[in-house]
Amino acid sequence: MTTEPVEEQFTNQIGDHDDIWSIVDNALLGIGVNRETGFMDVIVSIETDEIVQASRALRDDEDANFDYLRSLTAVDNMGDGMEVVYHLYSTTKKHNVTVKVFLSNESLRLPTVTDVWPAANWLEREVAEMFGIKFSGHPDPRNLLMPEEIDDTFPLRKDHPLAEIEVLQGEGMGYSGEEL
């Protein structure tokens, strides 16, 4: 995973991983487990009920100062549950970290981080409607992209099927098209 020429292209985006580890460690003061290094960012895994406290610590700590929530998304791991992924950035210190929360399929709930970063408002609404994850304490938990009435289909889950093509080209014109 660490071929020389590829890293050169991205050196400025990676930053120094050891520095970021120590900064994040100091900020989190023991919260969080399972640190690993992804290709570009340091990845920290945090438990479900500690996420708000950890977010506040990451934002308010002077060395860490992660004040910019870049992206909030989720990944459906099918049988293994789901993970919610936060990408954070510091506008003053210019470093990045990725925070993950692992959820099991039985309890798809975690507290909202909208009080810490208001940017999470719409991002959590989208994750909630696409994956069925409930964010407790969210100020406005309506559907964002889906119609408001629908609350039982979650399109981005892996078991949600693709639509069948309803009209085959050339149907009824004497051409027996193949099933696509």
Partner: protein
């Protein structure tokens, strides 16, 4: 002339030979009607009785600016020459639609003026993907348009869902909710393709001109 810096293209050989007033040609009068009475003698040359040529309608000789044609031809010609599309760009095809309205591929020369309100437009160009969330609005806008009205389905997404057809929030073709007259393939169709679709729509209007309204 030379002091002004330009010369005449044709110089007359003899200035005296240039006629200063146009010659007066007296019309040949075949008196059919008696000479019309006038109040002022100077009007007399103006009141020339009409020359009646048998086989040709009299009104065409008196008032030569009149056209006589079947009514459906005139209505069809006027409808096709002044199609006002409702600006209904949904997605990427809207950009190519706007490019067709603009100066490079001008649609105004066909009489096509984009009009925002559905109440005064003739054509609805469905440009882009229709999602199931947007479908009721499309149907409502179609019903708000007064007849005669036509629909052009622009792009692959409006035809049958396009590249997004396998996603269940996408309506697989706008012809599931409104009747479509012209389909334009492409993703997005070039402006020339959209102009071609308008010409096809004009031919369609002339072919179907005997059908009363829609």
């Amino acid at each position: 002339m030379e002091e002004r810096g330009f010369t005449m293209a044709i110089t007359p050989a003899d200035p005296a030979a240039v006629p200063t007033e146009s010659p007066v040609i007296a019309p040949e009068i075949i008196p059919v009607l008696p000479a019309l009475p006038t109040e002022h003698p100077s009007e007399a040359p103006l009141l020339i009785p009409a020359q009646y040529v048998p086989g040709k309608a009299l009104y065409k000789q008196i008032l030569p600016g009149i056209i006589q044609a079947p009514l459906d031809l005139l209505l069809g010609a006027s409808r096709k020459s002044s199609l006002w599309p409702m600006t209904f760009g949904l997605a990427c095809c809207a950009i190519e639609m706007i490019a067709t309205y603009m100066a490079h591929y001008d649609l105004d020369r066909f009489g096509i003026v984009p009009w925002p309100s559905p109440r005064q437009s003739d054509v609805m160009i469905v440009a882009g993907t229709v999602t199931k969330k947007m479908a009721p609005s499309v149907k409502l806008l179609y019903e708000q348009m007064p007849g005669p009205k036509w629909v052009i389905s622009m792009g692959a997404c409006a035809t049958n869902g396009g590249p997004y057809t396998r996603y269940d929030r996408v309506l697989q073709g706008v012809d599931k909710i409104v009747p479509v007259d012209v389909y334009v393939p492409g993703c997005p169709p070039r402006p020339e393709a959209l102009i071609d679709s308008f010409i096809a729509l004009q031919e369609l209007i002339m072919e179907e001109r005997k059908v009363q309204g829609k």
